[in-house]
Symmetry: D2
Subunit: 259 residues, 4 copies
């Protein structure tokens, strides 16, 4: 259908019930809209601002929930890894391994992920130019894995704000399929509270601009109760708003395809 694809789910796997509930809803929407869908969930959160932040429910437990989502709804899944030893473990449960933005320069981690043979999603560091992602992609290719994509999650702009540089989308498409992460691109980091802020009112603005400039996929975190999500609540889209947003994006994509 030449539609964009969607990487979507909660930030962290907080439990089976919530994961299944979110997956079911997103599957029903993406089926209707013919959007290829990948369920996203973190099995642990390793890079929190503060030591008392939520870090997960247990690695194996969370990974098994990801597998259950996949088997129940017949959708592929994606999760992020933080240590070399995570790569092999996570690869047994999910279809796509994601390298977090802070870690995309860690050669050993990228190579370990690539060597599992899974699809690799490299997040552009907030401190990296679009052009420099060429070298990150090359590390995957050099590991005999050609299934690699790149996700833009914004670029640091001063200490407490991020901007999406949309020139990066056509630039990075020269190296691999490009996803726009509309959740983390709207973070406002380094807040004095130690809790990252956000601009959720700008999700649709950024998502539309991503589609119209050629993004192959959209990454988005969603929850039926963002205010009580255990992480990243600041920028999550409420599940109730997902269908309208995706409907708009599909319409824009159809127009772009016709140009």
């Amino acid at each position: 259908s030449n539609n964009f694809f969607l990487l979507c789910g909660p930030c962290a796997i907080e439990g089976e019930e919530m994961a299944m509930r979110i997956a079911e809803k997103v599957v029903s929407i993406t089926d209707k809209l013919n959007i290829p869908y990948v369920f996203k969930g973190s099995f642990k959160k390793a890079n929190r601002s503060r030591v008392d932040s939520f870090t997960g429910i247990g690695d194996e437990k969370a990974l098994k929930i990801l597998r259950k989502v996949s088997e129940t709804f017949k959708v592929p899944t994606i999760t992020d890894i933080h240590e070399i030893s995570d790569a092999h473990m996570a690869a047994e449960y999910v279809d796509i391994l994601q390298i977090p933005a802070f870690l995309v320069r860690q050669t050993d981690l990228v190579v370990a992920a690539a060597e599992t043979g899974k699809v690799i999603n490299l997040k552009k560091g907030q401190f990296m130019s679009p052009e420099s992602m060429k070298h990150a992609v090359q590390k995957v290719l050099d590991s005999n894995n050609e299934q690699v994509m790149v996700t833009d999650r914004g670029t640091m702009f001063g200490y407490q704000d991020m901007i999406v540089d949309f020139r990066g989308i056509p630039t990075m498409k020269q190296y691999a399929p490009v996803v726009l992460d509309v959740t983390h691109s709207l973070q406002q980091p380094n807040q004095s509270s130690g809790v990252t802020g956000g601009r959720p009112d700008m999700i649709e603005t950024i998502a539309r601009a991503g589609i119209v400039t050629g993004a192959d996929g959209i990454f988005m975190e969603t929850h039926f109760d963002p205010a009580n999500a255990k992480s990243d609540g600041a920028n999550m889209l409420h599940l109730d708003h997902l269908e309208k947003l995706l409907t708009n994006l599909v319409a824009i994509r159809k127009t772009v395809n016709s140009l």
Copy 2:
């Protein structure tokens, strides 16, 4: 028609023949596409990097050419002013007075322009937040002139690059109609040569993102021979590419209007 409007022309008025030639072509395209059109041309260039850069053909001479374009093609015109004394002079010849980005914090200049009763186009300083344009707009309103619009021409990102922050478009629409300047937003300033560089390959990327995020107008410089234009050649769109670009933007605008 609820279409976007277009501010377009050469950077500087280099002479009558070139102004008329560009205007005729743009008018024929915008008539076909139902795009409200304003002819743009600078009567002098005051903020060049180097003293030996081209600064104009003479103020009165250039302004008379703007008037001739207006009368010949029945289109309104816009030009930029740099000194308080320019405001009254230019107001006799053109319909819209533009305050350059570097000068938008000069209260006396903004007020002098506003007091002519002409439409005012305030360019967002490269060093200003979208939110801070509220105060610039207020200076026009406080001068009893409600005809004011705001143009984004990018934001400094490091010394030698600019980024368009598309969050700024819905933000500034709270204050006034918003135009996206796709020519100057792609400048790469502070090059060691003293000549500003650019990314003209990104014009369509940036323009599409502007339309899809709600820009009311597009500002663009064009020339039939950008390489030999006397200023800003680095980012000008070749006149031959204008129709295709605008056709694409109109299609996107129609889709956006339907959402």
Copy 3:
């Protein structure tokens, strides 16, 4: 004495009494410390965030106060100009004409100032690289005026913060004597209130770093009552703290001279 020089005074000339009081105090300190001193005061404020900000007591009136300070205390004076017509007027009263940072790319203004034969102080635009100031300096030299200096007043870092790039001091010393403006370098612009904020607690940090990296002069605004100053109160140094700060800077300068 090979000491640094000081450009110092209130932001705006609010009246004769306050100007004389500040000058007298600064003169007594700089005489004791053998610091060549130039009295600084703006005769009008043209680039305020909001139209209701204080803009001055009248041009002639303020310029006459600058002359009186000069004659009374035998010190040179400096003021900033914003329009071409200001250049000739101000040159009759002061010794140094300063081009504000927002205006340093306005060729006509720089040339008009240079042609008065006065010393010219070019402030680096917040959006300019140190290297690009070479072209601004060249505009003065090309106007047959070799008396030119450059002042760093910080560089935009995101929308609401500034950083001083100390690499710029040795870089710009290749073109002209370099002054560090420790008042405006600590501004925090684009605050939602429309009133620029600041970090006055960092004045000594920034000033020390300026001296140790080779600044030829220090620019600083001071007041006996910063909280009630009519402009730029956010970063002014209280006059009572000036002597201790300058004493420390002189000690550092002596050490640097000995290396």
Copy 4:
């Protein structure tokens, strides 16, 4: 002596001979100048731009060389770790464990390092504000380890440049002793070649500003043949220039101590 301390050595441990040669020279200089000295060397390089960059001579082999340097010259040593499993291993050989800037948000890694009981050196992420390092320091303290310091290695400024924000030094001194890394602060990342560039001509400028604004320590990479160093050659100080630079810094520190 209330002098600053020095973390210094090659970037990577390329072999025993080179490590011993560099250590011997630095020890002789720092002994003369009464500078407390810690020998620095990476036992592996994990975050290279390209997969074909040099990554090390073998972990155990490199760590044993660090121990030999320590025993031979009676100096403490520091090395950086990249994985949780590195923490325990490296702690057997060195005195200080360093968390790289890209990894300082990885809670598990910081906690694993802290739990070894070794001194921890946290590098400020290029994407972090000075204030946000408070949370990173707190993670070490919460692990019952009070021996923690913070190192500034510059802040991203656009894609291809870094700036040192010297306001960060007094800010971070509120949380822990602060070191200025004058080597990596001068990197120019994201170059199109995939090899990070630099500004080694600015080492003394940045180092002086660090000392005068209160840095407790200086971090610097040095080599007797920077052009042929296997990593980070772009900003290394030639070993022949070290004594003169440190002599100047000691003089500045003495003056600062006396203020």
